[in-house]
């Protein structure tokens, strides 16, 4: 339900699109998908240099720390657009809507918003989920290699480097997630690594692959559930099931 209040048709239409596309960069940390794909952007309104975005989530009881992260990231990317003057981001229908919206309006930051419930920052939380997203992306490319070549055993994945990967969507997704956690994309770098880029010992490869698989299944399962709940809660949504 995107709405655009127009002043001068050509510029505001494109500004509306620019605002929506800017929100592509905001990712749900748990689901590792953009909030625009997940259907979390309820509306975008542009009026000259003013932009107002409403977000919605699958339940009122989605975790408030993640809800705040997505809302404050949204405000940041919209504020960074060259033409925006006044940016309003509001989270609708959440148990912490009042708290989070007041914090965003005042640019109070995480600690200013949650006061006694906040110790330091959400940086560690964000990094934890960036690492999980990398783990899942790593499992996808390696399982794809195993399926493509039945002769290859799990333990053989030990020597696989980035240069061995096919030029496909899964590899591109892995490289993006490596970059987020500070890992390079050199052809000789190992693929099955921990979050610091160190390859796991050869004898641990089957176990590490299994652990990575459970991470991937967990993230994908949560994404199924959240998309389904969003459609149940907001039947008007056009977000596809997967």
């Amino acid at each position: 339900m995107m709405t655009t209040r127009m002043t001068t048709p050509t510029t505001t239409t494109s500004r509306h699109d620019q605002a929506f596309r800017a929100l592509d960069a905001v990712v749900d940390p748990e689901l590792d998908e953009p909030i625009t794909d997940l259907g979390f952007v309820r509306s975008v309104e542009v009026d000259d240099d003013r932009v107002e975005v409403h977000l919605r989530l699958p339940t009122s009881f989605c975790a408030p720390n993640f809800a705040y992260l997505m809302a404050s990231d949204s405000k940041d990317v919209l504020t960074a657009l060259p033409w925006t003057g006044h940016v309003v981001v509001e989270l609708d229908d959440h148990h912490d809507s009042d708290l989070i919206n007041a914090g965003l309006a005042a640019d109070a930051g995480y600690r200013g918003t949650f006061v006694h419930e906040a110790d330091d920052s959400l940086d560690v939380l964000r990094v934890t989920f960036q690492r999980k997203a990398h783990t899942a992306a790593m499992e996808r490319v390696l399982t794809r290699l195993l399926l493509a070549d039945p002769e290859r055993s799990e333990i053989d994945l030990h020597g696989v480097t980035i240069g061995d990967l096919p030029a496909d969507d899964a590899t591109a997704a892995l490289l993006r997630r490596r970059a987020v956690i500070g890992l390079g994309e050199g052809a000789d770098l190992p693929v099955l690594v921990d979050h610091t880029g160190v390859a796991h010992p050869r004898d641990e490869v089957p176990l590490r692959l299994r652990m990575a698989r459970s991470t991937r299944i967990s993230i994908e399962g949560n994404a199924h559930f959240c998309r389904g709940l969003l459609r149940t809660r907001y039947p008007d949504t056009s977000v596809p099931a997967t």
Binding site: A63, D119, S214, I217, N222
Partner: protein
């Protein structure tokens, strides 16, 4: 008991509730938001024919509970796992007196677990001792995202939580059902993280920790700690209804659980009245890992029997008729279930 294809299954529903979320019991908007969230779970994952009206969903009452579980639902024994939610509901969400009265009327069919909140301090500890005596507690349900004054969550390894777990161990309350929710203090960390379960499972080896909805949304963290802690178990609440909407995903969950923690530490539960047991039991007995998930071994009948009832019966000393125990060709398994 449920019979299908010449096999009979003893059924323990390890997580049921008797709740009251009617408007007159809602203390504030959060009481409505909470039950609406449950209702969306219910509507989203139930087969169309099993969806209740919103009115019915707000309060089911004891008579309907008995019918849904025992008359229609094949359940032999069910265990109440109440959530208090005193900040959202005037008289609490779980209806203690009504559920306990039902348990007293049907002691062969029902077990009443109660709940505690470590933020109630010394007074709560005294109450726990009284509750243990009054209800004859074998287990408890802990919801770590319970709101309490200006606190909206706690961790199992908080100092006061240790005091309560020590008391539980002393009082013979052995089975601790842990339900993770979205809030915790500080919000800096992931509220669904199960690292605190790992810690208390190491420090309280006489207690069993049943992690409800098998750690979802953190299945991977749960599997890893359960692999290392023999007293950590998986409750299938919330995970099981995916069997209808997303059978492949359910196949992956049950495949992962069997791989990491094995068939002796997984418990069936409908999470009634989130969902009703009949269709879940029918679907699970009929379920097989999809062919495309070749990395997992097929589910066996013995595994299904353990998950549907024998595992929880062993944990709660619920008598199982001889003909419903596992057959003698697996003698070590009979020993576990008897």
């Amino acid at each position: 008991m449920y019979s299908y294809n010449g096999e009979s299954y003893f059924i323990v529903d390890a997580h049921v509730a008797l709740w009251d979320a009617r408007p007159e019991n809602q203390r504030n908007i959060h009481g409505k938001q909470f039950i609406d969230c449950f209702y969306d779970y219910h509507r989203n994952l139930s087969p169309q024919a099993e969806v209740w009206s919103y009115e019915d969903y707000l309060y089911q009452g004891g008579e309907r509970l008995m019918k849904d579980l025992f008359t229609d639902g094949y359940v032999d024994h069910a265990i109440f796992q109440p959530a208090h939610l005193g900040e959202f509901y005037h008289r609490g969400f779980g209806q203690t007196e009504e559920a306990f009265a039902l348990t007293q009327a049907h002691p062969d069919k029902l077990t009443y677990n109660h709940c505690w909140d470590p933020r109630d301090g010394e007074q709560g500890l005294e109450q726990l001792r009284e509750d243990a005596k009054r209800f004859g507690l074998k287990g408890a349900k802990l919801y770590t995202a319970e709101w309490h004054g200006d606190s909206r969550g706690y961790k199992l390894d908080d100092p006061w939580s240790y005091r309560y777990l020590e008391a539980a161990q002393e009082l013979g309350i052995r089975n601790i059902h842990v339900h993770k929710g979205p809030t915790i203090r500080p919000l800096d960390r992931d509220a669904f993280d199960v690292a605190d379960v790992d810690k208390v499972a190491t420090d309280f080896t006489e207690l069993n920790f049943v992690v409800e909805h098998c750690g979802l949304p953190r299945l991977e963290d749960f599997c890893w700690i359960a692999t290392q802690e023999p007293n950590v178990h998986a409750g299938l609440a919330v995970a099981l209804p995916f069997i209808h909407t997303r059978p492949k995903y359910f196949g992956q969950i049950i495949g992962e659980l069997l791989y990491w923690i094995g068939e002796d530490r997984i418990q069936f539960s409908s999470d009634y009245a989130l969902w009703t047991p009949r269709w879940l039991i029918e679907a699970f007995v009929d379920f097989q890992i999809p062919d495309e998930l070749s990395e997992y071994a097929p589910l066996t009948t013995a595994q299904k029997k353990k998950i549907l009832g024998l595992n929880a019966a062993a944990m709660y000393d619920i008598p199982v008729p001889a003909e419903l125990q596992l057959r003698a060709e697996a003698p070590e398994e009979v020993a576990v279930a008897s």
